[in-house]
């Protein structure tokens, strides 16, 4: 009974989320008490489903770019020829994190215009750090005896990387990606301050018209997405970790 309870809760959450996105009207009575007399309780300036999909797309693009760059960078600085740049790359990515997302967003606007692009840049920069840090941790904490055995067995550098190092580091890398995705899901809402089409639009509309129902539904959809995606990735990670015997 204990074991399947969390899965059940997740399934229920997913069902509610889907129901809300497809037919928000059903939930109107729940949100009605939150708004003043005649204000709409359900976001009415666009489809919540479309916004959700756009939101996810933005996060997906930024995360994939961040994964490619961060993992490549971490691989490069852990090879013997790139070792020189390891401390620098680490402080650089660290500094990147001190830039507030709003600032990155605002500063990217003159170069890229309003809309999705500055949001992508901000999410990309923000997503880099966790993935980079974790990939680095994964690649630098491999058991020395395993690495020695891989070399001793006559694997080339490339074979070692793809057959031993990356598979062993994979659970840690995935944990970084998971963290990065959750941060990005929340941060993407800020993109709507520069007119990106994300769920932030719902929240900001709520803030501007003093409509708590909007704020709440926007926030909860993002929160539910984050929880579901986080759990999904955790499950994949657990399977991989078990396979790797870690």
């Amino acid at each position: 009974m204990r074991a399947w309870l969390p899965s059940l809760l997740r399934a229920v959450l997913l069902a509610i989320l889907l129901a809300f996105l497809i037919s928000p009207g059903w939930f109107e009575p729940l949100l009605k008490p939150l708004v003043q007399d005649n204000a709409p309780a359900i976001y009415n300036q666009g489809s919540l489903l479309t916004l959700t999909l756009l939101h996810l797309r933005t996060v997906a693009i930024a995360t994939i770019a961040a994964i490619i760059v961060a993992v490549t960078l971490a691989i490069l600085v852990t090879r013997s020829f790139g070792a020189e740049f390891l401390p620098l790359s680490r402080s650089l990515v660290n500094v990147g994190q001190t830039f507030p997302p709003v600032a990155v967003l605002a500063l990217a606007v003159p170069a890229l215009g309003f809309g999705e692009k500055p949001t992508l840049v901000a999410l990309f920069l923000y997503g880099l750090l966790p993935i980079f840090e974790n990939t680095l941790t994964g690649l630098t904490t491999l058991p020395p005896s395993v690495m020695e055995a891989a070399r001793g067995a006559g694997m080339t550098d490339r074979q070692r990387l793809f057959k031993v190092e990356l598979p062993l580091a994979m659970p840690v890398i995935l944990a970084g990606i998971r963290l990065s995705v959750v941060i990005s899901l929340a941060t993407a809402t800020i993109g709507s301050t520069v007119a990106a089409k994300t769920l932030g639009e719902v929240i900001i509309a709520g803030l501007q018209s003093n409509n708590i129902a909007f704020v709440l539904q926007g926030g909860l959809i993002v929160g539910a997405l984050a929880v579901l995606i986080y759990d999904g990735l955790s499950a994949i990670e657990a399977v991989l970790a078990r396979r790797a015997g870690l």
Binding site: V146, A149, G152, A153, L168, G245
Partner: protein, 312 residues
């Protein structure tokens, strides 16, 4: 045959292996001993070029080991290390198949080899082939590590403190198994250890390293009877000398004609163990039985005492 010719390795100007020359005969077990930090591992790793030497050369069957890329060389030489170094994300079978896969053997040949090695190391393929390393005991992990090193039928097997992480009982068994397998496969084994008992038990020849230099290279008996330096003497242990001599040879080699009372000892038992048995049972002599159980003579306290004494 492995010819090590004036090999030197320097780190930051200090030689950690200093002009070592030695020849290792094929199909023998050579054990490198020495205190920690004396350069044993570095010497061993220069044979398969995990470490590139600063000077000198190493030839395998007359061929310079730098005549091919390092990774190709290493696919031809078995390598087993302390703590086994098994790939945690691969099954036992996949681990053993590592080098054959790198060498592109066909699948049937790989499967046959894996099954053969598992059987040889007393691991039932039906049970163990699909397990992951963390599902094995320490002794089993170690056996899989050696099996992996032998998978591509290397002529040479390098072992760096392979039994260091095992408890004494399992270690004794692993040593005995290794000797059996060596006799069967005729592999040339070079093994690093800092355990002198292990060295005397396994070695055809022992190389003693001290501060990067090879101070003596000879048979175990030569080392005991004729230590080249004070250091070798200390390493062997003055009070251990007679027992070391006895531990090199077997009861079969000390058989005298005649019979004795008591439970027979096997001809393959070390003379040291026979002496222990004699002392413990308070007898002067024990009968010796060949592997098939037939009595072939006796071993006497007096005879062993003669063998343990310093050669004149």
């Amino acid at each position: 045959m492995i010819e090590i010719d004036g090999i030197t390795k320097r780190y930051d100007g200090t030689a950690v292996v200093d002009n070592v020359t030695m020849t290792i005969e094929p199909r023998t077990v050579t054990v490198i001993v020495g205190t920690s930090g004396s350069g044993k591992t570095t010497l061993l790793r220069m044979i398969n070029r995990l470490v590139e030497p600063s000077a000198g050369a190493i030839r395998l069957d007359g061929e310079d080991n730098r005549s091919m890329p390092g990774f190709e060389l290493r696919r031809r030489i078995g390598y087993a290390i302390q703590g086994h170094g098994l790939f945690p994300h691969r099954t036992v079978a996949q681990n053993i198949a590592t080098v054959p896969v790198l060498l592109d053997w066909d699948k049937a040949r790989i499967d046959a080899k894996v099954a053969e090695l598992l059987a040889l190391f007393q691991l039932d393929p039906a049970i163990f082939a699909a397990r992951f390393p963390h599902e094995l005991s320490g002794g089993q992990q170690q056996r899989v590590g050696v099996a992996r090193a032998l998978a591509a039928e290397p002529k040479v097997l390098l072992m760096d403190e392979p039994f260091g992480a095992l408890d004494p009982i399992i270690r004794a068994k692993a040593q005995a198994d290794l000797l059996d397998i060596q006799k069967l496969l005729k592999t040339t084994i070079v093994l690093v250890t800092h355990d002198m008992d292990e060295a005397f038990h396994l070695a055809d020849k022992i190389a003693v390293m001290d501060k990067g230099e090879l101070v003596q290279y000879g048979t175990p008996a030569e080392l005991v009877t004729n230590p080249a330096t004070e250091f070798v003497q200390t390493l062997i242990g003055a009070s251990e000398r007679p027992f070391r001599l006895l531990s090199i040879e077997t009861a079969g080699q000390a058989v005298e004609p005649g019979t004795a009372d008591g439970k027979p000892v096997g001809a393959a038992t070390s003379q040291r163990d026979v002496l222990s048995e004699l002392l413990w049972t308070g007898r002067d002599a024990l009968p010796v039985a060949a592997a098939d159980g037939t009595l072939i003579g006796k071993v006497t306290l007096e005879g062993l005492a003669r063998r343990a004494a310093r050669p004149q």
